[in-house]
Symmetry: none
Subunit: 242 residues, 2 copies
Amino acid sequence: MAREESAGLILLVEDNRQIAEMIGEYLERRGYSLDFATDGTTGYRLASSNSYDVIVLDLMLPGMDGLALCRRLREEAKKATPVLMLTARDTLNDKLVGLDAGADDYLVKPFEIRELEARIRALIRRDRKQVSAQILKVGDLVLDTATLQVTRGNQSLAVSPIGLKLLAILMRESPRVISRRDIEREVWGDMLPDSDTLRSHLYNLRKVIDKPFQRPLLHTIHSAGYRLADLDSEVPSSQEDH
Amino acid sequence: MAREESAGLILLVEDNRQIAEMIGEYLERRGYSLDFATDGTTGYRLASSNSYDVIVLDLMLPGMDGLALCRRLREEAKKATPVLMLTARDTLNDKLVGLDAGADDYLVKPFEIRELEARIRALIRRDRKQVSAQILKVGDLVLDTATLQVTRGNQSLAVSPIGLKLLAILMRESPRVISRRDIEREVWGDMLPDSDTLRSHLYNLRKVIDKPFQRPLLHTIHSAGYRLADLDSEVPSSQEDH
DNA sequence: GGGACCCTTGACGCGAGCGTGACGTCTGCG
DNA sequence: CGCAGACGTCACGCTCGCGTCAAGGGTCCC
């Protein structure tokens, strides 16, 4: 019975045909799609030119061994594909060398085939989690709400806690105009301060996200509120600009 | 040392109210937490949007039957949650179809309630073991949750029990920011201490994993929480599309 | 019983970040 | 043109979050 969707695309690099077949059959029956390589050189070629969810890599290989393959993959091909290393040796030293080469997990032969699948699943899950982080973009300004990091262009900015909150609100509503009242309510709730400290915070926020750059993103709409938007990238649909 | 916690979170999908109540009462008395669904559609919604330890699934259901639910859960929602299938029929054919749909175990009605619990326990144990045995890496810091060994660079570090727990949480969530509250809840559960001892533990953890090295990994985000990450290896992905 | 951890608790101090207010600047309206 | 309200700018205390560290007590094992 054909599955509609693959549980994941895997590259298996293993020179022992018997082991490769065993792993391949099991994983395919569990819904994964597989590519095979039996030596390090083809393994590297496949790994660097395709996008796999996981690479299962034997340590000892003809052509290029697993460590070298992994290192080249990271340094030359600049691929962050999760690598699961298979090894017959289990000394602490080997583990460390493997992980140091950029492997993400390792498994000592002989292993339970179900444990292999569990670890593959874990690697895929971990990788997907990173992608699912919520990222807000306005122009070249980027806020990652998971790591709370703010970047513009490609330099990172230091934004204070309340500044972050303001930024998140403005970016979520962008490019709409938000009134000060709405912002205040969202930041301070019902216990808002008696002086409008919002002005100060907007000022400080501007100092960080706009002042060091040529094109401002945070705009004041007099007696209406604020809006965050990249003006030049907006559709000039018969509107007058001054 | 025993901290009170649920024996497991279970989703029970069963249209027969009498059976559902019977199972539910028994399992809750044994310390499990339960969610209920009486038709396949709500069952699928709950199963795909939450993280259960086990799903107990009746084969015949209104809306969507157990097989279809299980298949969709694996293929669309990409959930590997252990599924225990309940069925009145016990032909060999049904078993095969059930297991092929991605079920992990199988129980024929009528069954002994104690056997149900035994199988649930087995599934939870199997899953926890798989999940707990993995390698966590952040920068050059490595935690092997199977052996509880911590290394950085290539020297091994001595981390206290609570330190290990903190480290595991931080590494699993890396590079996300985690609030103190969340960390406290995960470490101490509902019986958390009245002084924030977390500060001390973070301090001691830092003394071990960061102080002896030049580049710190554990970062404080003022009034937001903590994050574990290798700052220099982060690329703010300045990807410009169209 | 004594010693080696390890966890909790509290004290101390520093500094980041926040609220506050004063003052300058701009906009819109009469 | 001038006034008033809205907004930008900026510096000053003060609070509170957090790092730091040591003392006390519990547990386990020799």
